[in-house]
């Protein structure tokens, strides 16, 4: 009919393109309580029905320890295909690292069934394929170049110039694959200390983080190391930021790049006001323990009694006595003073400016700890929360594991690992929930060289007999 044609001519958009809910389902989605909506869109436990954000990206990881491997793990969790290259037989030194030499998963390599990979290796190389290669041998070189041709990029951590000398540095690889994104991660980078080795702990020590962490010298405290390799992991994630931006730029220009990343610098980056304060006024920031230099009350206090005096594990028995308290705004602080029965504290420190000064902080926290001297951790938390203030216990590994919160959110969960059976995992999902392209954890790790056949034979077409020969010569 004619009028139908007329209407079609007059249409400027499609009904479905107009804003607003389109179906009953969508209408309901808009009406859902917010938390339910979150649960629905993140749909914890069903990550594998959703697509991978980095589908089609292939990344090589010629890395060791935690820092540079972690830059690749992030990609692997986001769906890239990542290939970890290790020294034949020996593998990444991190495989030989385990807390107090206790926890291993077996085997390390098919020639070493009685050796295992230590838990220190956990989470740094998940979801990756594991191949071995001795770069020094000319036969291996050709295989390496072939891998480069078929990959989008590489992260390496060798001493600067080593790969260049071995004819597999940026200058060489760019001519083989101009789209290649080459990452060097290390301690220092170009400059007078270019060849200096580095570790997480060097970043913590050298870059100023340790100087501001721990109790103040005047209270008997020392520069304190984070037990965790925080600077390794945290710097690795920032490499991932650079890689993803480089991939985005490459999609427009077709050109790869070289990224030089120094982890020692990354530790200085998170120091906030420390550098500007020094630059402007020459003030050298010191440690301030469990309190906050800029907010009061906002810190961690000790209670007199522990929550689990009869527990067997000393971490429960003796350590379950620390509470985070936060009541820095005026009304919150007044309530806190009432709770600890020190209303005079409030009358003396009515404004935040008055109570955040160092002597005031010392007095206020002492008053809180005196009040908490005959209480347990959970009592203190309960009293504060009942009064509508912010407080929480300092949780240990067991409590994190048992927390319903992390379980419901899927950030702590058991995984049926193809090699090791049930493994409790804390990573990947916890790095961030994504509604359309969630991160995924597939496997923890695989033995040294476990995927040699898959990569060399199936991807590069090397005959099985040749793989066997290289394996026996110790090249693979």
């Amino acid at each position: 009919m004619d009028w139908e044609k007329e209407i079609n001519k007059m249409k400027v958009c499609d009904f479905d393109e107009l804003p607003g809910p389109k179906s009953k389902e969508e209408l309901e989605e808009m009406k859902m309580p917010f938390e339910e909506y979150c649960k629905k869109v993140f749909d914890v436990g069903n990550e594998f029905v959703k697509p991978d954000a980095l589908k089609g990206i292939r990344w090589l990881s010629t890395t060791m320890y935690i820092f540079t491997p972690h830059s690749v793990t992030n990609l692997a969790e986001l769906g890239a295909e990542c290939i970890k290259v290790e020294m034949p037989r020996m593998g990444d030194p991190m495989r030989h690292t385990s807390p107090f030499n206790e926890a291993y998963l077996y085997p390390l390599h098919d020639t070493r069934p009685m050796s295992g990979t230590g838990l220190g290796f956990t989470n740094a190389n998940s979801n990756e394929y594991y191949i071995t290669m001795d770069y020094h041998v000319p036969e291996a070189k050709k295989l390496f170049y072939n891998l480069v041709k078929m990959s989008d990029g590489l992260t390496e951590c060798y001493r600067h110039g080593t790969f260049d000398r071995w004819q597999q540095g940026y200058r060489t690889l760019m001519e083989i694959n101009p789209r290649f994104i080459y990452v060097w991660g290390g301690g220092f980078g170009y400059g007078p200390k270019i060849f200096g080795g580095s570790y997480d702990i060097l970043g913590q020590a050298h870059a100023g983080l340790a100087s501001v962490t721990g109790a103040h010298e005047d209270f008997g405290g020392h520069a304190t190391k984070a037990t965790n390799w925080c600077i390794d992991w945290y710097s690795g994630s920032q490499i991932t930021t650079a890689i993803l931006a480089a991939l985005y730029w490459r999609s427009k220009t077709g050109l790869g790049t070289m990224i030089e990343f120094s982890q020692v610098q990354a530790a200085t980056r998170c120091l906030g006001y420390t550098a500007p304060l020094y630059g402007k006024f020459g003030i050298v920031r010191q440690r301030w323990g469990n309190w906050d230099t800029q907010l009061c009350v906002h810190g961690i206090v000790m209670t007199g009694k522990t929550d689990f005096p009869d527990a067997i594990n000393p971490q429960d028995k003796f350590e379950s006595r620390y509470v985070v308290l936060s009541a820095f705004q005026d009304a919150d602080f007044q309530e806190l003073c009432n709770i600890i029965k020190k209303p005079d504290l409030f009358s003396r420190y009515k404004t935040h400016k008055e109570r955040v000064g160092a002597p005031a902080q010392i007095e206020i926290y002492k008053a809180i700890e005196d009040w908490a001297a005959d209480k347990t951790r959970s009592e203190v938390v309960r009293i504060f929360r009942d009064a509508g203030l912010l407080a929480m216990p300092v949780m240990n590994d067991r409590e994190v594991y048992e927390s319903e919160h992390f379980r419901i959110r899927g950030t702590v969960r058991w995984n049926d690992d193809p090699l090791f059976g049930d493994v409790l995992i804390q990573s990947a999902y916890s790095a961030g929930l994504m509604s359309r392209t969630p991160r995924k954890h597939k496997w923890l790790w695989r033995p040294v060289g476990a995927d040699n056949v898959k990569i060399y034979h199936e991807l590069l077409g090397v005959p099985m007999s040749k793989i066997k020969e290289l394996y026996e010569k110790g090249i693979l």
């Binding site: 962490t213 630059g279 402007k280 961690i300 594991y401």
Partner: protein, 498 residues
């Protein structure tokens, strides 16, 4: 040595303020090493040509001569108080994204924070002269600052319009707050299906332990995130090394709001992955992302929770020693702390050779102990105690610099614990430079920690500005995106909308 003696009388903190600062004592105090000196370092390892290549292509000085990776990506940062939203948007804006920072007309309270409440350590901007805290200035990078009151109906309409014009929203408000105003992801994604929306918080926007606000409206800030993932429990000296009760032997938070920074960087990663999926894989769809301080820090908490699942171990704090590697620690020396690291046999024996030169006992007790010959076996607790007792015996008689020089002869990854004044003058640091100064339009000469992604061949990150006066860019942003001229802005201001 100072060039001339100054007569100084210090009676109060105010007297100390003019003694330092970029005009009196410009940074660096001593000049950094020259490129020629560095060339000698490269040549020594026969890497002269390669070193020159690096200097020619990666030097920080060339960053403004190169393009930006995220040119054309537009971010709106809608967050207050915490560092996560600032760090996430900072990482992206350093790489070239256009950043609009939205604050309520009263401003982000982070602007008012200053160590120990000392207003003299705040910086006044050139435009309004309002003092602003240095954390805020340091972390808000390359941003345009606008004000908007989303508690007014008109403000909400404006926010919706802006959300249709941006690629990314980074939100950090209490859980469900923006959603309750009709400005959540589910509302905005209907207007802009390409929108990538990332919420950042401490423990979560949903779930039994989600973020809370106190009865009086106070937000939850770091260290709640650090405490919720066992980080605090694991950090610090054990009570058998230092006494408890604020004297060093307690679990301790990081000196900085580290969990927020970690949440921020993982938020940036998730956002970029979502952007890649949206634009490069041609799906054209945005998504909803949630990153929390507690969980992103747990993601990088080594193997700790996994270890609990393995054999019910609860990790304890071990002070400045690492329970997984030997040697890998810092110990006290004559003038501070000296860090020594090296795990493999090669490094283990090199450290030993260095120490036994001064302390032959070390050679006998450490090198001849059969239990210490195997890399993994050296991690047992008694092995750590034995190794570090003897190492400290060596360290206690020498200064950091002596220890460093001796260890460097053996090419060991070692270094002293440095304070910020030492960091700023460390030769390598100032050569790069990692702490740098910017001559800022608003705040004059400001020292800052340089962007970590600034050393790249093609698209290095760069810092163009730090901080921003509140609402400084209202005029430009509202005109550019919504067409509002000065008349309209005056009207909105009078109504309390901006």
């Amino acid at each position: 040595m100072a060039k001339e003696k100054r007569e100084i009388e210090i009676n109060s903190r105010a007297d100390t303020l003019p003694l330092m600062g970029p005009e009196v004592r410009p940074w660096p105090v001593t000049p950094p090493p020259s490129p020629e000196e560095c060339m000698k370092v490269y040549e020594k390892r026969k890497a002269g040509e390669f070193g020159k290549f690096l200097e020619d292509h990666l030097r920080l000085e060339y960053r403004f001569d190169k393009p930006e990776a995220l040119q054309g990506v537009r971010i709106m940062c809608m967050g207050m108080w915490r560092m996560g939203n600032k760090f996430a948007s900072g990482l992206l804006s350093e790489l070239g994204a256009e950043l609009i920072n939205v604050e309520p007309p009263s401003g982000d309270p982070l602007r008012e924070l200053t160590p120990f409440g000392r207003e003299e350590y705040m910086l006044k901007d050139a435009a309004t002269g309002t003092p602003c805290g240095m954390d805020f200035i340091h972390e808000l990078r390359n941003a345009q600052s606008i004000t908007l009151n989303i508690e007014t109906p008109e403000g909400r309409e404006i926010y919706k319009k802006l959300s249709m014009l941006v690629d990314i929203i980074i939100e950090e408000y209490p859980p469900g707050y923006l959603d309750s105003l009709g400005l959540g992801y589910r509302h905005l994604s209907k207007l802009n299906p390409k929108l990538i929306y990332c919420w950042i918080g401490e423990r979560g926007q949903w779930g039994p332990m989600k973020d809370e606000v106190s009865k009086y409206g106070q937000w939850m800030l770091d260290p709640f995130g650090m405490a919720a993932c066992s980080w605090v429990h694991n950090t610090g000296f054990p009570p058998d090394q230092c006494p408890r009760g604020g004297k060093g032997g307690d679990p301790v938070r990081s000196g900085v709001w580290l969990a927020d920074y970690v949440a921020g960087e993982q938020a940036a990663n998730s956002i970029l992955a979502a952007l890649y999926w949206r634009d490069c894989l041609g799906n054209g769809l945005g998504q909803f992302i949630e990153c929390t301080a507690a969980e992103t820090l747990m993601d990088i908490l080594d193997f700790d929770i996994t270890w609990y699942g393995f054999n019910a171990s609860i990790k304890a704090r071990t002070g400045a020693w690492d329970p997984n590697l030997n040697q890998y620690e810092w110990n006290p020396c004559k003038d501070g702390y000296m860090m020594i690291g090296g795990q493999t046999d090669r490094l283990w024996y090199r450290i030993g050779m260095c120490i036994e030169r001064d302390l032959p006992l070390f050679g006998r007790l450490i090198h001849e102990d059969p239990l210490l010959k195997e890399m993994a076996a050296r991690n047992a607790l008694q092995a750590l105690i034995k190794t570090y007792t003897l190492t400290t015996k060596w360290l206690r008689d020498i200064n950091r610099i002596e220890a460093e020089q001796k260890l460097m002869e053996y090419e060991i990854a070692a270094g002293p614990v440095l304070y910020i004044d030492e960091v700023a003058e460390f030769p390598h640091f100032k050569y790069r430079p990692w702490v740098n100064v910017i001559d800022d339009e608003q705040y004059g000469t400001v020292m800052y920690s340089e962007s970590t992604n600034a050393y790249q061949h093609r698209t290095p990150a760069r810092v163009k500005s730090l901080g921003r006066p509140l609402g400084h860019d209202n005029g430009e942003v509202y005109k550019k995106y919504l067409g509002y001229g000065p008349m309209k802005l005056r009207e909105l201001k009078a109504k309390g909308v901006i």
